[in-house]
């Protein structure tokens, strides 16, 4: 198995929370959304996705409920909670600070 583009550590939670900002999604939907939004650059491995979702559930940042999909199959949909929305704000600003910092370092080089 060749490694796809690895995500920066800690960014998976941020990506998941961001995709859930627009609408509730199931796990596959989240993976698909990240792939599409990043123009197929970022691939979320299932091995990381589901543990991460469990972690977010545990923190209370997302909540899950079973719903029917368009293909008439049961799937677990994840919704952002109020706490999750707040957390997203925190993580986003932290991420932007970091990107800015990295950018400054790279510019100097």
């Amino acid at each position: 198995m060749a490694k796809k583009n690895d995500l920066l550590p800690g960014t998976l939670d941020l990506l998941i929370l961001t995709t859930l900002k627009r609408a509730p999604l199931h796990g596959y939907g989240i993976a698909l959304a990240i792939k599409r939004l990043s123009d197929e650059v970022l691939t979320v491995e299932e091995g990381s996705l589901y543990p991460a979702l469990q972690r977010l559930l545990l923190q209370g940042w997302v909540k899950a409920e079973w719903k029917m999909t368009e293909t008439n199959r049961r799937a677990r949909f994840y919704t952002l909670t109020a706490a999750g929305r707040k957390q997203l704000g925190v993580e986003l600003s932290e991420f932007q600070q970091m990107i800015a910092a990295i950018g400054r370092v790279l510019q100097d080089a």
């Binding site: 198995m1 199931h26 796990g27 299932e46 589901y50 543990p51 209370g60 999909t69 677990r76």
Partner: protein, 876 residues
């Protein structure tokens, strides 16, 4: 708050585990299906899409496990592992029983001996700050530890600048008047500050006040806690009551705490104050002393100070103190100094046994790892992480250790009770600190420490063993041969270690047994068989000196008339004692220059040497008529004759204790009698007629053809017929006295214990060897089958296995020999008449070990030789 919510969620998940897993599986199945559909829409065939999705998705079980690890409690995995470990043990009851019992055995031996070591060595003194306490002795040319005289004690106390308290004590015995008659009781007399120096506070009443130890002050006593409970029912109103000791009333002023004991005075029941007076003779040495070091004073400084005081006194009073110095040792050295080496030897013995037990269990675990390698490889291939598999090993090790330790601890407790029962009462009185070994904090901490070490060993070794192989290796049949060579080498090394350890223990036991044997057969100078002894204590008030001789003679007449009695006599003390009763003397006609002459003095009856069958070398024995009215005479032993009358006949020479006393004629020379401990060399001794200096306490020695009990009770009855007020104690036979003397008893008991450990070690070592060989044979069945099929003789198959066993055994024995020598050096204070390189013992031990090893390897060799080649080859 947030963490609490998280905790609640985890708890909910813990109870909804099944649901959690199902939901996760369904979720991932959905993902899987969706991915597959996408592949199909992208133009893949259905089948190719299925495989692609599966590849992309990876190992579902592992995914599930990883999600589970995020949300589950760590404890949940532990519970699973423990349950699995228990199931494993139940499925292999043979392995489980062997491993747990072996471990329990090691821990049991180790812990019970540790409890005694803890009681005797680590916390033997129930006083405050015991490390600041010292024991004081006078040193003389014959040795460093002798009694003080009252005047020396008073001067030491007055002149020293290093002690915050210095006090004297003496053990005593009294006749206690009780409603059921007169009883002999142990007691002690102490100077007034004794308990304050020990920092022991009475639980009831008061301590002696300063000045209460001067002569002429009324008689007050303190009770030991046991006496208060036993004789006075633990009543609070006991303070102020009187007890009659030796016919005089004493007022009870206090009760000592329950934990208090003081080994030098044995089981003293009544504690009285000494009556010290300045008019005592400086040459009469009868006191012992203890002291508490001032803060910041070292033992060396104290020794220097005391020695300069002793030197000053020696100059001031040359008659009494010439050649006398001072010895300062820590109180714990003085009290447990003798038992310490034995305890450490026993503890080392049990630790070696524990080591063997652990090595044995480790090799069992290794065999099991080997057997389970496919299971483990399978679990690895199915997605169990290395961490999870290691955790499984750790859990299994822990389960084993917990079961083994619990069982070991329980049996250790029982063994301790048994061992305490086995200690004879006189030894127990001399070692009161051994009374309380129990499962205290020290012992529990010790158990925890060894359990942890064992658990570490049991979990690390199999995981190391497992990690040298990749899972593929384990799954592959052919992988067996290479790995089993490695294993055989490791197993063989472990067996060699076990055998070497067993060899050290066996050698130790052999040396101790031989010491004990030699000690019992050492020349005592007497024929102890068929001699019984009993101690007589006459009531002080009823008998004057002359009357003592008269009543003693009546006892002798009555005793001699008893049927079966061949000979009866009197001795003020008995052989094989503590070598006390020393006296200074000078030879009449020789100038008293140089070191003082010192000798053991013993008062004995006329028939004493005949009763004990001591050889007369020159001159004559005492006559029955030689009493206080006749000129004083003495018989000396050959050691005294050789030391003080070299090259001349001592008969007719005269000695005296000092210029103020009449000279004593030497009338005979007898063979040396072992007066002191059996393991000490013979010392100069002089015997004087009991009748010339009678005492109200003496022993009767009876040689008879009757059984011990019947003659002792007949004698006691005769004595009580003459005077019912006489207290009789210490009844026993001379051989008992030998066997139960500390020198013999300590060697005997340590020989038994170390011998027991060695036997167990031999058993465990043989089992270990058997196990490793049996496993090795089972692994090589195919190889052996091939050999047999190609025409190998049965005998060469035997050789194949026995050679392997022989190598390990030889290595074990050689290593054991190498370790036995230093081990023997470490316990040389316990050895008597043998050296650690005693060839007889070492050869015997090596032979025993070799035989046991060959017996253990015979069965696997036999099994190997009877391998049926057809079956062996088909089995694969």
């Amino acid at each position: 708050m947030a963490s609490f919510v998280r905790f609640l969620r985890k708890v909910r998940l813990l109870f909804g585990r099944e649901k959690f897993r199902d939901e996760l599986n369904e979720e991932m199945a959905f993902h899987h299906a969706a991915a597959e559909r996408e592949f199909v829409e992208g133009g893949m065939s259905v089948e190719a899409a299925h495989h692609a999705a599966q590849r992309q998705f990876g190992n579902a079980t592992r995914l599930n496990e990883r999600s589970h690890e995020v949300v589950g409690f760590r404890i949940e995995t532990v519970v699973q592992d423990v349950a699995f470990a228990m199931r494993q043990l139940r499925r292999n009851p043979g392995f489980a029983c062997t491993a747990i019992l072996t471990l329990a055995l090691g821990i049991c031996a180790s812990v019970s001996i540790f409890a005694f070591v803890d009681a005797a060595v680590i916390k033997p003194l129930p006083y405050q700050n015991p490390s600041r306490l010292v024991a004081l002795f006078e040193s003389t040319p014959s040795g460093p530890r002798f009694h003080l005289s009252v005047l020396d004690y008073l001067d030491w106390k007055r002149l020293n600048t290093v002690f915050s308290g210095l006090d004297a004590f003496d053990s005593s015995e009294s006749l206690l008047s009780t409603p059921v008659g007169i009883q002999r009781v142990e007691g002690a007399a102490v100077s007034a500050g004794f308990f304050r120096t020990l920092a022991v506070v009475p639980i009831l009443g008061r301590d002696f006040r300063a000045g209460e130890d001067e002569s002429g002050v009324g008689s007050n006593v303190m009770l030991s806690y046991g006496t208060w409970q036993r004789r006075f029912g633990g009543r609070k109103d006991v303070i102020g009551q009187t007890v009659t000791l030796n016919g005089t009333p004493n007022t009870i002023i206090g009760v000592l705490p329950p934990a208090f004991h003081f080994a030098p005075t044995g089981s003293a029941e009544f504690w009285a104050a000494l009556h010290l007076s300045q008019s005592e003779d400086r040459g009469a040495h009868g006191l012992s002393a203890i002291a508490r070091l001032k803060d910041g004073t070292t033992l060396q400084a104290a020794t220097a100070n005391m020695q300069s005081i002793a030197a000053q006194l020696a100059k001031q009073y040359p008659d009494a103190d010439q050649g006398r110095g001072a010895t300062v040792v820590s109180l714990s050295d003085a009290i447990v100094g003798d038992v310490r080496p034995i305890m450490l030897v026993l503890l080392s013995g049990t630790e070696l046994l524990l080591l063997i037990a652990c090595v044995n269990v480790t090799s069992l675990l290794l065999v099991r790892t080997e057997v389970r390698k496919r299971e483990l490889a399978l679990r690895g291939a199915l997605g169990a992480s290395r961490l999870r598999l290691t955790a499984q090993f750790v859990t299994e090790g822990l389960v084993l250790v917990v079961l083994g330790s619990t069982l070991g601890l329980g049996s250790a407790w029982m063994l301790m009770q048994l061992l305490i029962q086995l200690i004879p009462p006189p030894m127990m009185i001399a070692m009161p600190y051994l009374k309380g070994p129990g499962l205290n904090l020290h012992v529990l901490a010790f158990v925890c420490a060894i359990s942890l070490a064992a658990a570490l060993l049991f979990s690390v070794v199999p995981s190391l063993r497992f990690s040298v192989r990749t899972p593929q290796d384990g799954l592959c049949e052919g992988g067996r041969n290479t790995s089993s060579t490695l294993w055989r080498r490791l197993g063989g090394n472990l067996v060699a270690i076990e055998l070497a350890t067993a060899m050290v223990l066996l050698a130790g036991a052999g040396l101790l047994t031989k010491s004990f044997y030699l000690l019992l057969h050492t020349n005592l100078g007497i024929q102890p068989e068929h001699v019984v002894t009993l101690r007589v204590l006459l009531p002080h008030s009823s008998y004057a000196k002359e009357q003592i001789t008269a009543v003693a003679n009546r006892f002798l007449e009555e005793g001699a008339a008893l049927p079966g009695v061949t000979s009866i006599s009197i001795g003020h003390s008995l052989p094989i004692g503590n070598a006390g009763g020393n006296t200074m003397f000078e030879i009449v006609g020789q100038p008293t220059v140089g070191a003082l002459k010192e000798v053991n003095q013993r008062e004995v009856g006329a028939g004493y040497f005949t009763t004990l069958q001591v050889r007369l070398l020159r001159g004559r024995f005492f006559r029955a008529t030689e009493d206080a009215s006749k000129p004083p005479v003495t018989i000396i032993n050959s050691a005294m004759a050789e030391r003080y009358f070299p090259g001349e006949s001592p008969i007719g020479k005269r000695i005296r204790f000092d210029a103020s006393e009449p000279p004593i004629d030497i009338v005979g020379v007898v063979d040396n009698i072992k007066e002191g401990p059996m393991d000490q060399p013979m010392r100069p001794a002089m015997y004087t007629p009991f009748a010339q200096d009678p005492d109200s306490s003496f022993f009767l020695l009876i040689r008879s053809s009757r059984t011990e009990d019947s003659i002792l009770s007949a004698m006691a009855a005769s004595i009580h017929k003459i005077d019912p007020g006489v207290a009789i104690s210490e009844e026993g036979s001379m051989t008992e006295r030998m066997n139960e003397s500390p020198a013999a008893y300590l060697r005997q008991s340590s020989a038994w214990l170390v011998g027991g450990f060695a036997g167990l070690a031999l058993l465990l070592g043989s089992i270990g060897l058997y196990g490793v060989l049996a496993y090795s044979v089972s692994q090589r069945t195919r190889e052996i089958g091939v050999r047999v099929a190609l025409g190998a003789q049965r005998s060469s198959i035997y050789q194949l296995v026995l050679k392997e066993a022989g190598w390990w055994t030889a290595a074990g024995i050689l290593a054991g020999l190498a370790c036995s020598l230093p081990a023997g050096m470490l316990m040389r204070s316990l050895l008597f008449g043998v050296q650690s390189w005693d060839m007889q013992i070492l050869t015997l031990v090596a032979a025993v070990l070799g035989t046991a090893a060959m017996m253990a390897s015979y069965l696997p060799a036999h099994r190997a030789a009877s391998v049926n080649p057809v079956e062996a080859l088909r089995a694969e």
